[in-house]
Amino acid sequence: MKVVVTVKQVPATTAEKRYTADLRLDRGSAESVINPLDEYAIEQALRLQESAAVDTVAFLSMGPEPAAEALRRALAMGGDEAYLVTDDALAGADEWATAKVLAAALDKLAPDVALMGMASDDARGSLVPGAVAAIRGLPLLSYGAELALGDGVARIRRLTATGFDWVEAPLPVVASVTDQVGEPRYASLKGIMAAKRKQLETWSLADLGLDAASLRGAALTRVVEARPPEAKPPTERIENVGPDDAASRVADWLAARKLI
């Protein structure tokens, strides 16, 4: 049983972001981390490997060359090998193009489960898992609070309106998990040393049998304007007053906005 976890390198929440002249995020300029929600997918895969339900755990990323750093960090947490798809033609890739490239790489790696975080910190569309499943012609099990494997099927525990369901599909599948799978482990010093000896292979688009034309210029979408958010009026503060006074002033504030 083989699991491939997709890992995206994203700007750290606290990082200062800059934009290129054509309105794309300058990914080289910001301090980068593994997308925090991908760490939960890594953790889920490693737990399955520890329970012997999975033999091999590999990591796959698409991004500029420095994204290899995110893969090394993943390998320091555990797992066996990693693959980076990097190509100048991929700058500014949108959800569809990203899914198309990841699908081609996953076809080559042929895992039983392609496992993903439920969203990326920077884009938050949550569309890549479903689009990858569509392109590969595989079932999708999404938003799992837990992933279980066995008897040729994968199962996820998924929240419903009031409780939860176990949803299953025959392997191979594309799956995504939430932050309920368990807190991601920290890389140990031993893990960091071991990661340096693990295989990290780099693929170009040509290695995947793709080219810029088959990706429609890497995007079906185009950003026509990027700007800072509208400045909000400063926060009004109520402090150093008793609870009666505070309550009365909050009620006044709500009434002034016709909220009560």
Binding site: A119, A134, A161, R222, I238, V250, L259
Partner: protein, 327 residues
């Protein structure tokens, strides 16, 4: 190619979800401007029986993708067949897990451009324009489909972006989606179902949310928040810390990995306002925070920030609101 605007309409027990009514209104508004129709793509238990009533909400037509108790993703293949036949200019999908799954499947199956969740959406000269907040809300972008991109543009829409039409009448013309094989997406099935005994509020539908965090301290600590929410005609939500602690069910969690909400009033009580929570509520129209820590991050983006003891203030506020409403 048409100027129609399609939308995903989820049903439960034969009734459209609130998101379906909101998207019907949004699709009608966008379609009318371009001389097209709003077309509902209906799925979920009872969708077949309930589809026609979307006419009163703004839909001219309703196509039934499936109406069984099954994972929403299982209707992806009929959805793709219906969309291919319609070729609408845009397809609106609720930014819920089910809505995103179906939107993603369509993006992959039909090679479609995707946008959102959007803050605003318009159709200009037959081309969709989507405004969205990205990079944790630090940048606002306007995007459109690239030249030659296939139709429709797939658009994720947060709850409360559009207001359902009121007092509408009429029925939508109902038809079935083209009969196609369910494909790989059709293979997912519910193996076990564990509904909770008590109903849980649907936060995405609430226009007022009173959310509690770590500062609320316990399950019992949520009781005064419940009373305040009731007085305001709203629902109770929570931060991840409160859900992780087991004080409330995960269905009430607001944030990056919980619900993304857009109420007209959000009250954050005993919530510090970490970025992961903020991305789940930052589009609320009015944000009030109560926290004993004068330096809590929520104080930097709330509209009104009350520094004080929530256990003393919240019951007083509930009383005061009841008193004023009773007047």
């Amino acid at each position: 190619m048409s100027n129609d605007v399609a939308f995903l309409a989820e049903f439960a027990d034969g009734q459209p979800a609130r998101s379906a009514l909101e998207l019907a209104a949004g699709a009608a508004e966008l379609a009318t401007a371009g001389g097209g129709q709003a077309v509902a793509l209906c799925y979920g238990p009872g969708a077949g029986a309930g589809a026609a009533q979307l006419g009163a909400a703004g839909a001219s037509r309703a196509i039934v993708l499936g109406d069984e108790e099954a994972p929403a993703i299982t209707v992806a293949a009929p959805a793709a067949a219906a969309v291919k036949q319609l070729e609408p200019v845009a397809l609106l999908a609720p930014a819920s897990p089910n809505g995103r799954d179906l939107a993603a499947a369509l993006v992959g199956l039909l090679e479609l451009p995707a946008f959102g969740p959007v803050r605003a959406v318009a159709i200009k000269d037959g081309r969709l324009q989507a405004e969205q907040a990205t990079l944790q809300g630090t940048v606002i972008t306007t995007s459109e489909p690239a030249d030659g991109a296939p139709q429709p543009a797939v658009v994720l829409v947060l709850a409360n972006t559009f207001t359902p039409q009121e007092g509408g009448s009429g029925t939508a013309e109902v038809s079935d989606a083209p009969a196609v094989d369910g494909g790989a997406f059709g293979k997912a099935r519910i193996a076990e179902s564990h509904p909770a005994e008590e109903a849980v509020a649907n936060l995405e539908e609430a226009t007022v949310i009173v959310a509690g965090g770590r500062g609320v301290g316990s399950e019992a600590g949520f009781a005064p928040l419940e009373e305040l929410a009731t007085a305001l005609g709203g629902a109770v939500g929570a931060s991840r810390a409160a859900a992780d602690a087991g004080w409330v069910p995960y269905q009430l969690q607001i944030g990056q990995t919980g619900k993304v909400v857009k109420p007209s009033l959000y009250m954050g009580i005993g919530i510090s306002g970490a970025i992961q929570h903020r991305v789940g509520m930052q589009t609320a129209e009015n944000v009030v925070a109560i926290n004993k820590d004068p330096d809590a991050p929520i104080g930097e983006f709330a509209d009104l920030f009350v520094v004080g003891d929530l256990f003393a203030i919240v019951p007083k506020l509930t009383e005061e609101i009841k008193r004023r409403k009773g007047r």
